[in-house]
């Protein structure tokens, strides 16, 4: 029988990323509206620091995926789903790279170097350039909205497969209770 579930490492990476991304989206949506002050400054700092953790996790997932391809989808799925599922997964992975990279670039273009968690100095990817900063800020904004849309599609697919079709697709990633 073909491999029917994701490897525990892939599951761990997926769920840790999922939790962090939800926190990051909430933090990102909340912090931009805050009045300038202690809370806002720290929110931005933590948003940058955690965002770069997502970058590392996602690079780790891509490496893992390269060595350990995900289990094949069952042939019983409708053709459009067989085609759309990998596209959506790749879109998510690319967005999980694009979000932190555009954020890091944005910080560099603003002339603000990132000290990861206040300790590790990270290089500036581009020199200070306010026009570029504006472009990157718009890019970061649109990528975040795109991420929300694809995530809703992703969660919608879970509802579709696990609650409506009950085809065990979601169980391949579920961390508890085996397959």
């Amino acid at each position: 029988m073909a491999q029917s579930s994701y490897h525990p490492v892939a599951k761990t990476l997926h769920w840790v990323t999922a939790a962090i991304v939800l926190v990051m989206l909430a933090l990102g949506l909340w912090m931009t509206g805050l009045p300038l002050g202690f809370t806002k400054l720290y929110a931005y700092a933590w948003h940058k620091w955690i965002g770069l953790v997502v970058l590392v996790l996602t690079l780790g997932r891509l490496l893992w995926r390269w060595r350990h391809p995900p289990p094949a989808l069952p042939d019983a799925l409708p053709a459009w789903q067989l085609r759309l599922a990998p596209l959506a997964h790749w879109a998510l992975l690319l967005l999980l790279l694009g979000m932190p990279i555009s954020g890091w670039l944005m910080s560099s273009a603003a002339g603000v170097s990132v000290y990861w968690f206040g300790y590790i100095p990270l290089p500036d990817l581009v020199p200070r350039d306010i026009a570029l900063f504006e472009t990157l800020r718009t890019t970061h904004y649109f990528l975040s909205r795109l991420l929300i849309v694809v995530l809703l599609l992703h969660v919608g697919a879970v509802v579709h497969h696990d609650l409506l079709r009950r085809d065990r697709i979601f169980r391949r990633m579920w961390p508890f209770g085996g397959t």
Binding site: A45, G111, V112, S113, G118, Y119, I130
Partner: protein
């Protein structure tokens, strides 16, 4: 500042002889000094606030102008003067811009201008200078030193044309000018850099 200040011309015997002759003849300063104009049209004044690793921010002024007097024969006679319209401050977003215009920081309604006047110019290298001066901000005057570098000098530039490029960097403590809000979090140091073309008057 003069021709020697910004280039190697003075090392040419003819230039030295000419300069010596002009100085002896009492015509030196008038003949050797160049008056150059700098402004926000041809350059930028940027600054970065904070020595904190957690938070730092940057901004710039877009409306400013100044004069650079270049005296190569007697470098000490050179000078730099800059006037900055504080209301032209631009931070990374409107919220920050408005906060910095307000009374806790630049208080642009009461102090529309910030100025720098050099008090001493010293040559430190072939293309570098130390410019000591006074910066006046929010009615407070404090000393400030700019480390300047000069590039792309065109001594033959026509009036109105680019004569050289200057870049000066210096640091002030914002607390000395009464701008202490968020100092614990963001830090006291403000690194200022001015990068500009200088055009012949």
């Amino acid at each position: 500042m003069t021709i020697a200040l910004l280039s190697t011309d003075v090392r040419r015997p003819t230039t030295l002889l000419l300069a010596a002759f002009l100085t002896l003849a009492g015509a030196g300063p008038a003949a050797a000094a160049e008056r150059l104009e700098i402004s926000g049209k041809y350059g930028t004044i940027d600054f970065a606030i904070g020595n904190s690793r957690v938070f730092r921010t940057t901004g710039s002024f877009t409306d400013w102008k100044g004069t650079v007097k270049v005296d190569d024969v007697n470098v000490g006679q050179s000078s730099v003067d800059v006037i900055v319209k504080t209301a032209s401050i631009q931070m990374l977003d409107t919220q920050q811009t408005n906060i910095l215009k307000d009374s806790d920081y630049f208080d642009v309604a009461h102090f529309p201008e910030m100025t720098f006047h050099s008090t001493r110019v010293e040559r430190t290298g072939e293309y570098s200078l130390k410019v000591e001066g006074d910066i006046t901000l929010r009615g407070v005057t404090r000393p400030m030193t700019l480390a300047m570098t000069v590039s792309d000098r065109q001594p033959q530039a026509a009036p109105g044309a680019r004569y050289a490029r200057f870049r000066g960097v210096g640091t002030i403590k914002r607390s000395e000018f009464g701008m202490t809000k968020y100092i614990d979090m963001v830090g006291d140091n403000v690194e200022i850099s001015i990068t500009t073309e200088a055009r012949r008057h």
